[in-house]
Symmetry: D2
Subunit: 342 residues, 4 copies
């Protein structure tokens, strides 16, 4: 038996990544693809790497017949996503990849995204999509909100440590390096090859990156009190991959043990032996997240480093993992592909 | 039912790529891995991207028990390969990825590889591994010789054209651009990131690249007379991918039609609509080969461009495709992964 | 004594490259910079790498006082360039970097650029800016037309050979690889890092690239009869650098000797020892062009390979070299910087 | 008048960078180049980008006649450097680029470099080569020790802040990203293009990188008490450039003002407007260091980011700046080249 899938916003990178994954998924069939400005085009002309697949022609969302759709992936920009999802059939299972349903508090949404949320009922219904920590709720959810890719990486490194009280909650610094595909397929000068290759720079410095809203929400909820982390993302001359170097205060061995225990039964989270640390290139194209913990020479300090592929485990892979749960399929179905190295 | 697989030379890039592919293959199980200098090590320490897999410890070849092995992939350097394969059980199915069994004529081997072949009986037994053109022989073969990755790319562009007499056989130029992983994981100054990135250069200019031996052998056999092509490979600042730009003389539409007809039923060979041409990034990490034909402004001239991933369709993917045939499995089994873009 | 320089179109890559070069030029001072849409901005905000320089604020062209300007570099898009230059003072020395004045025949211009030339008098006055071959005319010119960067590279490889009759004029193929900065700082999807890095593809295949107009014009003029070459450009995942691999028919040693003799006294053109060939990374950031010639295994065939930096020798360095001549300065002034490697 | 220069260790990247800079220096002439294993070779064969220069043939050090040499740049590996410099004429001016003379305390040297220093007299004579902070001592020094490239970057960000007491001395974290050329031209698997491109990873995590010895020595000396910073370097898929993201506690505006005042008269140190931060690509190939300071959303926290080119300002440019001082030349001579972007 197969489940019929629609992907809204199929002309962006997360849409293409969903198609890549679902194309070989044994229990899903793509029955509709939307891309408003490219409606009428074949996917092969938008993404030639999908040329060999038999895929539906791109449609406008309004032209899609949702009556035969079992689950919708919504890979649209935020704000647009709210509007579109409000108009989908009320019982439709939805995995949203935008930022629209990540924050539970409408005030937080307004603060970080600059305008009021227009679908607060959906916002309160949505389950936060960090699979390993919201598995049960996701399984029974109708609407799941995919996490920010940076937010996912930082949380994999930190959630078990905050929960276990293994680190000082007031001295957490996340220095993050991300590949450029996380910024999407948008025409911005700073995303040009000539502007990006052969160098590095920080962006959203000083605590203004929107994924901080997720850190604030989630870490504070775990700790039972407000937690604010410092967070500086950097853009790498690479397409895929996030490396989060997290500076914490606490006992390094305890930190390692806490992480190791927390993820012992998780298929996609690999905690490296104590003292080792990961590289983005060893998770590329896969749904795996590698985490390492190292003691610093300064007593009571440690570095935790997490790596994942922003398009896979950081967004579309995560989305598929959640969809598997929502459809009562094996959580790992279609997601066991090995990282592509070199 | 599963087939037991051994991979000899598992610490190189083609070895790692075989593991990547076979790890999710439904009818193969890796039971032995060799790497002489790294014997005793875990694959996770040699290739951390394989960390999540349960794989055998690396062994010396002599320590492998071949009695339970159904098929051997031999990813060793040439010369070494001859010696090792000579000592394998006489009825063992073998897919060799080295250059040792690609040339049928011992004199050719000596000319291009600089020393006499030491296993000429095996050489005469071996079937050339370009699957789409040697499918029947491969199915019943014991020993299959994987092609050169450049040689494969050029042949996909040219074999049907030579066979159909669609082009002038005395004016064929292959200008090829290849990623660096084709050179393997060897410590050479010209393979350092600082020497390679942000630039381009040709190598083996003037007709001295060894893959010419395969072009000579195969094209001459098809045409029934000696054919010599011009061939200039270039090294790209990229890890994976080969783009062969082939300059031919003939009617462009007939050339397109010939290619289109020849590959109409081939799963992995995609001929693009007339006038379009491929990019290496749209086949990355996959077993697909994209081919395009374009007419030149000069009457009677055309350009045929072929793109594939040197580690997949150019070597390890091809090897697995052949192994599937040799084990009477579906030829595409384990090989339908979608290209990884971006 | 210093010459006062204005640069029109200073917010693009060739404009920035002109500033880079002129900033340390001992006899030139930049007195005006234009960028219509960015008028009012400081260059440091448009190109932070120029931050340490004392430069004029960006202006609209109409706001520039040309009375104190000795020479204008015009780095505007074609069509715009025609209009702007028509309005400059009639005796102003001008080096134009656009395509507007490269072609001498108005019909050719219309054919390749799609609309009639609007300043045919200027077109007939302009001198083609390939310094080594138009030196005398450039010295006394008022308006010099910078060449296409691809066109320059191909011509350095071929002009002496065509003139000497050292090659078959009907069998010339230029397979060219170029870095992305040649496409400028424009917002196009195919110039995004995620679309370009880690791969290669051809473009303008089949004889439609506009730089062919320059090859046609120049090669035919040298030979005294129509010459048409085949030309396929490819986009590299690199910012700077052009590598032209030129396939010719003729005696390789004579070809080498012809090139070696032709450039014996040229400061910026380095002919490598016979059999060697160049790399783009060894000319990066400099005004040098490296050329090599190699014999093919096929009798009577040879490969000539030329490399230069598209932004320097291919455009802004060439422009400065020409300006030096026009101002009766030493031709090499400000241009002897060593290539930046690695 | 010109000064005669010898460069020992001319076959590495810092040696080549010295040649690049000195080739256009108006008051220096290279009279000798050493490279033991490549003695007898022409530089054009070792570094083809230097092809157009008239340079001495590579020699063994023992074959160099130092009687006509005014200053020696020693770009040899540490340990080797000690031995070689001990044998140079006693009054020879020397700029050493190795790690051998950076640490003043022999015990520190032994601790970080694993063996006793063999020339402790030279060690005590040597002046630490961070020009802006040791200018007077360098001017009169015979032996100057070039700093580590990472150490230079971190110090530019932090020295004025520590001196002014503008930050908490016990909570300094330096998260640094560096291009690969800093690791030299050595044949190591982790420096191969296929291992490095398209990704990122940390190295020497936990306080074991040797440049920490310089931070410890210098920061403690400034503060008058022991200071230990946390320091995590990361390897970027880029050839040149270091970006140091420094997390400090203190008033951001005061931090900005302190940096701005400290470097107000420094030609090569550019402090960006408050709230802005630098990119490595905007200093590439130049001797400039860009520094920015940004306030964090958490009261009392700030981020200081410094960028420089590891081969230029981080080593060979710094070395030349020091040599200029030692030879009573203008400090900036030969060093004003503009960064190469894109």
């Amino acid at each position: 038996m197969t489940h019929n899938i629609a992907i809204l916003g199929a002309s962006g990178y997360t849409g293409a990544e969903l198609i890549r994954l679902i194309a070989t998924h044994p229990s899903m069939t793509i029955v509709a693809l939307s891309a408003d400005r490219k409606a009428g085009m074949a996917m092969a002309d938008v993404f030639p790497h999908l040329r060999h697949l038999s895929l539906p022609i791109l449609q406008k969302i309004d032209d899609i017949d949702f009556s035969c759709v079992d689950l919708v992936f919504c890979a649209l920009p935020h704000v647009t996503s709210q509007a579109v999802i409000s108009n989908l059939p009320a019982d439709m299972k939805i995995v949203d990849l935008s930022a629209d349903f990540r924050l539970r508090d409408p005030d937080d949404y307004k603060k970080w995204y600059g305008k009021p949320h227009a679908a607060t009922d959906l916002q309160s219904e949505a389950v936060y999509g960090l699979t390993e920590f919201y598995r049960d709720q996701i399984t029974s959810a109708r609407l799941v909100a995919g996490t920010g890719c940076n937010a996912a990486t930082g949380q994999y490194a930190l959630r078990p440590l905050i929960k276990a009280g293994a680190i000082d909650l007031d001295n957490i610094i996340i220095d993050l390096k991300t590949g450029v595909s996380g910024a999407g397929r948008s025409l911005k000068e700073n995303l040009l090859h000539a502007e990006l290759s052969e160098g590095a720079h920080a962006y959203s410095v000083g605590g203004v990156h929107r994924h901080l809203a997720e850190f604030d929400q989630e870490f504070s909820a775990i700790a039972g009190r407000e937690i604010k982390v410092q967070f500086t993302p950097h853009l790498l001359p690479a397409n895929r991959g996030i490396l989060a170097t997290v500076y914490v205060q606490g006992d390094a061995e305890k930190i390692y043990q806490t992480l190791s225990d927390a993820y012992a039964n998780e298929v996609f989270i690999e905690v490296l032996p104590f003292g080792q640390h990961p590289s983005t290139r060893h998770v590329r194209g896969s749904n795996f997240c590698h985490i390492g913990a190292v003691a610093d020479r300064i007593e009571g300090r440690a570095v935790v480093i997490a790596a994942l592929d922003n398009l896979t485990k950081g967004s579309s892979g995560q989305a598929l993992q959640n969809a598997n749960l929502m459809l009562n399929l094996d959580e790992t179905m279609g997601l066991m592909m090995v990282p592509v190295f070199p």
